[in-house]
Subunit: 322 residues, 2 copies
Amino acid sequence: MISDQKVIGVDVGGTKIAAGLVSAEGKIVSAVRRLTDVSSPEATLDSISRSIFSLTEKLKLDIHELGPIGFGIPGLVDRNSGIGIASVNLGWKNVKVRSGLESRLGVRCVIENDVRAGALGELRFGTAKGYKNFVYLNIGTGISAVVILDGAFYSGVNGIAGEIGHAVIDPGGPLCKCGGQGCFEAIASGPAIAQRAIKKIRNGKSSMLSLDGQGPLNTITPEEIFIAAEQKDGLALEVINEVGGFIAHALEYLVLAYDPQIIVIGGSICLKSKILNRIISQKLQELSDQSWVFAKAYRKGLIRLSTLGNNAGVFGAAALVS
Amino acid sequence: MISDQKVIGVDVGGTKIAAGLVSAEGKIVSAVRRLTDVSSPEATLDSISRSIFSLTEKLKLDIHELGPIGFGIPGLVDRNSGIGIASVNLGWKNVKVRSGLESRLGVRCVIENDVRAGALGELRFGTAKGYKNFVYLNIGTGISAVVILDGAFYSGVNGIAGEIGHAVIDPGGPLCKCGGQGCFEAIASGPAIAQRAIKKIRNGKSSMLSLDGQGPLNTITPEEIFIAAEQKDGLALEVINEVGGFIAHALEYLVLAYDPQIIVIGGSICLKSKILNRIISQKLQELSDQSWVFAKAYRKGLIRLSTLGNNAGVFGAAALVS
């Protein structure tokens, strides 16, 4: 455990890799971003290594003078064995990630699932600092929650505890990548929000997002929907209103299940839309005003957005080794 | 802790009190049932005491030769201070239950919320014997879950953890006693199941339950609905099918939240209807067949009915002192 010096944290995504040098006080000294080469596991490990060497060259650092390097990796990760068990985004299965990185870099490496690393990042550097019982809910391309009880991960018997992205919250709703129907992830993840807007446009609803039939509908992004909502586009507001209601219900579930000190929301979705967050807060307040049981656990400040910004993934990876 | 001798457990309900002598091996040696006098807190404490004296007289036992007596009590209970904080069914608020009972009985008393006691009963005498991580879901007049992690109650920061009876699972659904709308309890508790049938009959659906308009509709009980369903009454089957689907979704949620070793279902509802249980099992299997994430935690035998039968409340109370 090196807490009095700087460490490198690497956020490995399916599209981009971000490597950053993080100080013990929680400042990003410097960071680089590189595209992820997913053509093969070996190529991916090469591109991860290159991103780190870019950073050390930029900073004129000798990698061997630093401590171990932390890596947040999407999908199923076995931290102890250093194996990347499965990752849809990286296209790998049972890859010896840690040893592959250690042989390329010549330093000790620690790998962990990126959402778990995100929770540790919040605990070490972010909104959850000082808390021992909290839930970290990541809403991005996928949705999952990480639960910290008494300062340690609570994983359950099969490592599934907190996978509420796959709880059915809208029976008969959209199909989910897991095979389920109406899962939380199939409603409130980035791709799901985009699909909801596209479906409404296909059904003939007018919107500035439809580009008058000129643009390729499938390229609508959640960010564009958020922008359109800010400009009072009716369809975008409808989408955000619906999705916000579902997110509020899922948060209510989490509160009633774990009754935590705080819930931190990370991931790309909620951080990008003030309107979405306002709707979520309003719905939660309504639920609390209605139910005296929920009101016993709910209060302003219980549910918070990550404050780590775009570098949350780097902070999370750094928290693995700091 | 007296484990090598018999103890008295008392299940205090809003209508009836059951006092039983329970052996260390988990047999009910004898039990008595008395009506609960809820005219005042003092009268309630008197009727609780009388039920115990009936039992000891029947068995020709000297109460002082036994160890402490355990009491399962509905509503909010502070076990440590011995206060009954609030109970709608007993109509009391901040009643010194333990000292009131100890002065009447002359022996040490232990009080606990009845659902928590129920979970301990399953752990000591029932289906959860030998498990350290399980959820006890009570579906009766109300709905709540008790969570045991590492062999101890997990209560959360405000004592609300597990109160999923008040999670909204059907937005826009029936009003709940808590003030919420579409809470799990407002859909699947005994009174809620009866209300669902009554509403369908009022809306003109025919059923053997409607008594051809001769009977008072409001007296329909869940038990009658279960009997009608066994006799293939369409409306009763429709009610049970709808309710079973909601219960399955709530169970899925509990599995994804806690990923426990087992979930034990207690309370009066699921134990009374084979059809309801079959529907719940079918829906859970469907959810598991669809979603590979849920399938990682779900398996046959994960969710079980209490095996303690009608005396579950007595076993729970006895578990407090054995």
